[in-house]
């Protein structure tokens, strides 16, 4: 990761104050039975912004990110994605989902389909793209994530890192405006983490709006515009990586950083 620091401007130096809002959360709360997973979470994410969500496990990071494309339903507050409010209206959900790409911790590739078909399925049937066009695009995306030669294999024949890169290509094939990453490297062997993070870095530099739940501090320092630290379902502290890591204000943040750094 060192070679990038010399050649490219850190993403956090960009000025995004004039960019339009992409994701707006106001007082989002969610309960699982009696357990409150999210407690009045409010945040605004700008277009092209890269936000890394940190926090101890069970702090509600994943729940929050999954609420944003309505894999989980929030019970109070409002979430607006690109101007569309998430309600029970099926049409809104489908519209939001086709604009928001999601990458999962466990990859969740479709094991019965070849890699190429994993990537083309949604463009063909959801976006109604002609098959030839979708395949051309898929080939280009697989090239972009660095595994063009694996198109005819099944997911089970690939390594974890390769599978996660296919999952990124699958999400990108829908041409989303926002990408959500839910602990994308947590299920990977250490030597495969870098290849996935490299792809995510490239994506961030290309101007994609990204929300990343991760434990990769190096990635957060290098790529994030903003860090959001969560604990007990609440946002405890937000800030640019420089300030967040060197000079945190809250005690809980300090405790967390002392444990992971």
């Amino acid at each position: 990761m060192n070679e990038n620091e010399n050649t490219e401007t850190p993403a956090s130096d960009r000025d995004l104050s004039n960019a339009p809002d992409m994701i707006v959360c106001e007082g989002v709360s969610k309960w699982y039975g009696d357990f409150q997973a999210l407690d009045e979470v409010s945040a605004t994410i700008k277009e092209q912004e890269v936000v890394v969500v940190l926090g101890p496990s069970g702090s509600g990071k994943s729940t929050w990110i999954r609420c944003i494309n309505r894999l989980e339903h929030h019970q109070e507050g409002r979430i607006e994605v690109d101007g569309i409010e998430l309600t029970n209206d099926l049409r809104n959900i489908e519209k939001v989902r086709s604009e928001v790409g999601m990458v999962f911790q466990q990859f969740n590739l479709f094991p019965h389909l070849k890699v190429l078909d994993n990537v083309t399925l949604a463009p063909i049937w959801v976006r109604k793209k002609p098959k030839a066009e979708a395949e051309e695009q898929a080939a280009a995306l697989l090239e972009r994530v660095g595994i063009p030669e694996q198109a005819d294999k099944y997911p089970g024949q690939l390594s974890g890192g390769q599978q996660q890169r296919v999952a990124i290509a699958r999400a990108l094939a829908m041409e989303p405006r926002i990408m959500l990453f839910d602990e994308p490297t947590s299920a990977l062997d250490p030597e495969m983490i870098k290849e996935v993070l490299d792809v995510m870095k490239e994506l961030a530099l290309s101007g994609m709006t990204m929300m990343v739940v991760t434990h990769e501090v190096g990635f957060a320092k290098e790529v994030a515009d903003r860090i959001i630290f969560m604990d007990d379902g609440q946002i405890v502290e937000t800030g640019t990586p420089e300030i967040f890591f060197s000079n945190p204000t809250e005690d809980r943040t300090k405790l967390f950083l002392s444990q992971i750094l």
Binding site: L71, G101, M102, F110, H112, G146, R170
Partner: protein
């Protein structure tokens, strides 16, 4: 992005083959696996004793001079097709020829067969020769027969031994060649040995009236032709595959396989008495109206830009379909309307570019055409005159009912399983009730109900033969069980798969059709095949409602013939062999299928 392919993690890895497990010489193999300690030795001896006693009992049953095997061989035709008229028998052979052609072509197109090393073949022959010899010693043969069989066994062993000695380690032979060789040997034996006359196995005066060689005489030429046709079809398939390789080849063959049973039944075997005037004036015009209007409607529904109005219209078609189904009018109109409603309901799922839409409309034309033809065929009387309720009996009736039941109950069962796991309460409750109700009733009750009661309840203008009614009842019964098997598969699809499909924006039906069902069905292959085998075997209950299935013939018909009074046990043994043959083939096919679809999994 150029520096992404950095590490050597994903480079092609050269795999070093695992060292071969050294093969133990026979003596040590025996010692290690059968006589490794005192307890195992005891167990081995005990099992061997039991095995010997069973074999001896079975052999002395089979080769007992009291046995009337002539009752089986003389009545082979009765067991195959019951009273199908002699002068029309060419129709049966044509059907068999069609099936052999398809089998041959499919084997070529699916690259059936594997390589068998000559050493494996050699050791197989060696051990089977030894088994033959042992069985001969156990069997109650007279001196001469015993010597003949001992010679045969030793010859087989010897051939195996020679193969083991002579052949290289890596020399192999196609398993298809072996199958053809076996078939050829069987047919050659038809030409040489006068089957249908049973005294050749042991000396005694035949008590039966069986003519010498009846079976061989009537079937040796047809069977030879069948095998030749199968081989020719295989090579034809190979040629077609090499000359015109096409993605559509396999789907086409699968389609033909699905069309074959109704075609053979309604066009070839049943020899329908079509009223051409009626067909031209009513059936074809009705079909054309539905084909054209329905095609246009579906083409509009599947256009991505149609949107909300299309969904509303599709819902209206669905309502109209159900409404019309319960209104008295021509059956064909009701069924086509219901079919159109189903297609309309699924249309938003398959909306897409012009190619996709054309394919959807073509599917509609194909399915509606087949359904029209089937309904017409069912309502056309047969010209084949036989005593009894149905023109077929024996194994062909068994297979017919089993095949139709399995094919019909599959889609119904899948729909029931989907309904039972659906979020919509009405579907869920209705499906659960149906499944639990049907599973709570004995199959015999359902068969009796459908054969006696249903024809009374049918609306005017609708006729159903007894066998059709039974197939429908049996299909509903089978679908309820099948649904539970499929539901198990549905539940095995992980939440992550659902979420991944939802996250890329798929609708519920797209998710079900493209992601969930393929994985669920793959997981359910073993229980589904087990279910199919069950359906096949339980067709023997047809005897209870007065149809002549093979078990009924073996148990009640043949033992009552004056020549073969009391020959129940022989025929039951033979029939159980036939059941076993088909069930075992299904089981084998399922294993192959599991291997094939397991491809993507590590």
């Amino acid at each position: 992005m150029s520096d992404l392919n950095t590490t050597g993690v994903e480079g092609t890895v050269t795999i070093k083959p695992a060292p071969e497990t050294p093969k133990l010489p026979p003596r040590e193999w025996l010692k290690e696996n059968l006589f490794s300690n005192k307890f195992n030795t005891l167990l081995t001896l005990f099992s061997a004793a039991i095995l010997l006693m069973i074999s001896r009992g079975l052999l002395s049953f089979i080769f007992n001079p009291e046995r009337q095997w002539g009752s089986t061989s003389t009545n082979l035709r009765l067991m195959m097709t019951q009273a199908y008229p002699e002068e029309q028998y060419i129709r049966v052979w044509v059907s068999v020829a069609v099936i052999f052609t398809l089998v041959g072509a499919s084997m070529a197109i699916w690259n059936a067969g594997s390589r068998v090393t000559l050493r494996r073949l050699g050791s197989f022959l060696l051990s089977s020769g030894v088994v033959i010899d042992i069985l001969t010693l156990l069997a109650p043969f007279s001196g001469q027969a015993k010597i003949i069989w001992l010679i045969i066994g030793s010859a087989v062993s010897g051939a195996g031994g020679v193969l083991l000695r002579v052949s290289d380690k890596d020399k192999d032979i196609s398993s298809l060649t072996l199958v053809v060789a076996t078939l050829a040997a069987a047919i050659l034996s038809l030409w040489i040995v006068p089957f249908g006359h049973h005294s050749f196995v042991f000396e005694r005066t035949p008590r039966s009236m069986a003519e010498t060689g009846t079976v061989a005489l009537t079937t040796k030429l047809p069977w030879t032709i069948m095998v030749v046709i199968g081989i020719l079809a295989y090579f034809l398939g190979k040629i077609v595959m090499n000359r015109f390789p096409s993605k559509n080849l396999r789907p086409t063959i699968i389609g033909i396989w699905f069309l074959t049973p109704p075609t053979l039944l309604y066009l070839v075997l049943r020899d329908p008495d079509f009223d051409m005037g009626h067909v031209l004036n009513t059936d074809i015009p009705i079909f054309l109206i539905f084909a054209i209007a329905g095609g246009a409607l579906l083409s509009w529904f599947t256009r991505p830009t149609t949107g909300e109005i299309g969904r509303v219209c599709a819902a209206l078609v669905l309502l109209a379909g159900f409404g019309m189904f319960f209104t008295p009018m021509r059956m064909i109109i009701r069924i086509l309307m219901l079919l159109l409603a189903t297609f309309a309901l699924a249309a938003p799922t398959f909306a897409g570019d012009s190619k996709t839409r054309r394919r959807y409309v073509l599917a509609w034309l194909g399915v509606s055409g087949i359904i029209t033809w089937l309904v017409t065929a069912v309502n056309t009387p047969s010209t084949i005159e036989v005593p009894g309720d149905f023109f077929l009996g024996g194994i062909s009736l068994t297979l017919l009912v089993a095949i139709f039941t399995i094919v019909i109950s599959f889609p119904i069962g899948i729909l029931l399983a989907l309904a039972r796991t659906s979020k919509m309460p009405i579907f869920r409750i209705l499906s659960t009730w149906f499944i639990e109700f049907v599973r709570g009733i004995p199959l015999i009750t359902i068969l009796i109900f459908f054969s006696i009661m249903v024809p009374l309840f049918l609306p005017k203008g609708m006729e159903l033969s007894e066998v059709s009614a039974i197939v429908i009842g049996y299909s509903l019964f089978s679908a309820a069980y099948l649904a539970e098997n499929v539901r198990g598969g549905l539940q095995s699809v992980t939440r992550g798969q659902h979420e991944a499909a939802e996250a890329v924006g798929m609708t519920t039906s797209q998710k079900t059709f493209f992601i969930v069902l393929p994985q669920a069905l793959r997981v359910s292959i073993p229980p589904l095949v087990g279910h199919c085998i069950g359906v096949f075997k339980e067709t023997s209950l047809l005897a209870i409602i007065g149809l002549f299935d093979i078990l009924y013939i073996a148990r009640n018909v043949i033992p009552n013939q004056t020549e073969f009074l009391g020959s129940t046990r022989e025929n039951l043994l033979f029939v159980s062999l036939i059941y076993f043959f088909f069930a075992y083939q299904m089981s084998k096919a399922s294993q192959r299928l599991e291997r094939r679809v397991g491809l993507g999994e590590r």
